[in-house]
């Protein structure tokens, strides 16, 4: 397909969505809602493409004998969920939800919790107050950890207000500056995309 057609489509849809912000007319609102709905549907199809791609990659990786059992388990999980949903539905107390509550959720939260160990070991190795900046980072982290743990209970009258003040004022100010930066960056990138200056999303040579 001609790259120009994609760029024109990007420009038209971008302008349409941007322009509707300046109008309270019901037609503008309905066009906005329709495009947002289209967006969700196309996004769902991209997920289907991703699933198909995962399926294809897993099947090709199964040629490797060492990888085969893991890939088979992955595919079994992937196939099981839609099959359970088709047979028994997706309401509460169905096998589909049982799989979610007793297979997916416990493993997901354990993977999340597992990172506590790695964060602790990485910070033990990496946290050294070699400079003023590093000392500030270390101090802020220590105060927050103390204020939110049982350990800090003994002197929570002092630590908790200090932690709250750090979070609400100096830390918030840096967060605000970062958000302003993100906002301005997103704004310029969006404009560059709509105007066709930024074309990396098209892939291939520019």
């Amino acid at each position: 397909m001609d790259r120009r057609l994609a760029l024109i489509a990007c420009f038209v849809f971008g302008l349409l969505m941007f322009a509707q912000y300046f109008s309270r007319h019901p037609l503008a609102r309905s066009v906005n809602l329709a495009i947002l709905e289209y967006w969700q549907i196309i996004f769902a199809f991209t997920l289907l493409v991703g699933v198909a791609s995962f399926f294809r990659n897993s099947l090709s990786a199964m040629r490797n004998r060492g990888e085969r059992p893991y890939r088979m388990v992955g595919l079994a999980g992937l196939i099981a969920m839609p099959v359970l949903a088709i047979i028994w539905g997706i309401r509460a107390d169905t096998p589909f939800m049982w799989m979610f509550e007793n297979v997916q959720a416990p493993m997901q939260s354990t993977v999340f919790a597992l990172l506590a160990f790695f964060v602790a070991s990485a910070s033990y190795r990496g946290f050294r107050a070699r400079s003023l900046q590093a000392a500030i980072l270390l101090g802020a982290a220590a105060i927050i950890l103390l204020s939110r743990s049982q350990l800090g209970g003994a002197f929570s009258d002092v630590v908790t207000p200090v932690a709250d003040w750090i979070r609400n004022y100096p830390s918030m100010s840096a967060r605000r500056a970062i958000l302003i930066g993100i906002g301005l960056g997103s704004l310029t990138t969006s404009l560059r995309v709509i105007l066709g200056i930024e074309r990396t999303w098209l892939g291939g040579k520019q």
Binding site: M1, A9, G14, L15, L16, A34, L36, Y38, I42, F43, A44, F45, L48, V49, Y70, G74, A76, G77, L78, M81, P82, A85, I90, M99, N102, V103, P106, M107, S109, T110, F112, A113, L114, L115, A116, V119, Q133, A134, L137, A140, A141, I143, I144, L145, A163, Y169, S171, M172, S173, A174, R175, R176, A177, L179, G181, I182, S186, L187, V193, W201
Partner: protein, 204 residues
Amino acid sequence: MDISTIVAGLLTMAILSFLYRDNPVYKMAESLLIGVSIGYTLVIVWTTTIVDLMILPLFAEGKLGLIIPLILGLLMFSRFHPKTASLSKLPIAVMIGSGAGVAIPVMLEARTLKQISATVNPLVSASGTPDIAALVVLIGVLCTLSYFYFSREHTGLFGQTAKFGTWFLMLFFGTTFGYTVMSRMSTLIGRMEFLLSDFLHLVD
């Protein structure tokens, strides 16, 4: 002990076995998690988006306009063949373009203007006492922004301001780190409680 607790407990231990080292039991559990997660997302997206937003309104209510996203969505599958792969650029263009169009006012309002208006507050109250907190926030935002301003060399007074901005950034990173550790720790405590109490019955 019911089968649900046994399955959840064994899978939790399989994931935790990674703390010893990367092993086949962990890899098996990891693969199962990936497969089940994708399967779950697939079912939820299929039901809430493809069926509820497209199939039912299109075929039951006759909303013919929905043929457009259906065609665009199907064009995404053209990626699987090299000869037709470029057709998938059209639905991507629609998504990228409309996403960018929505992002401009949203980012300007929520990320930039609201943050600026929350920063610019009176520095002296009606009674004449200075508002230290408002001053800290204002100085913090200005110094941090100056650190991210790369169109001018960070030397002299501007360099000192930018350097002062890094102190605020470090405070932000420190607090974020602290809260991240605490959230992971609370999840870990939850999993340990489940393992030791519900699964292994070692503690009440």
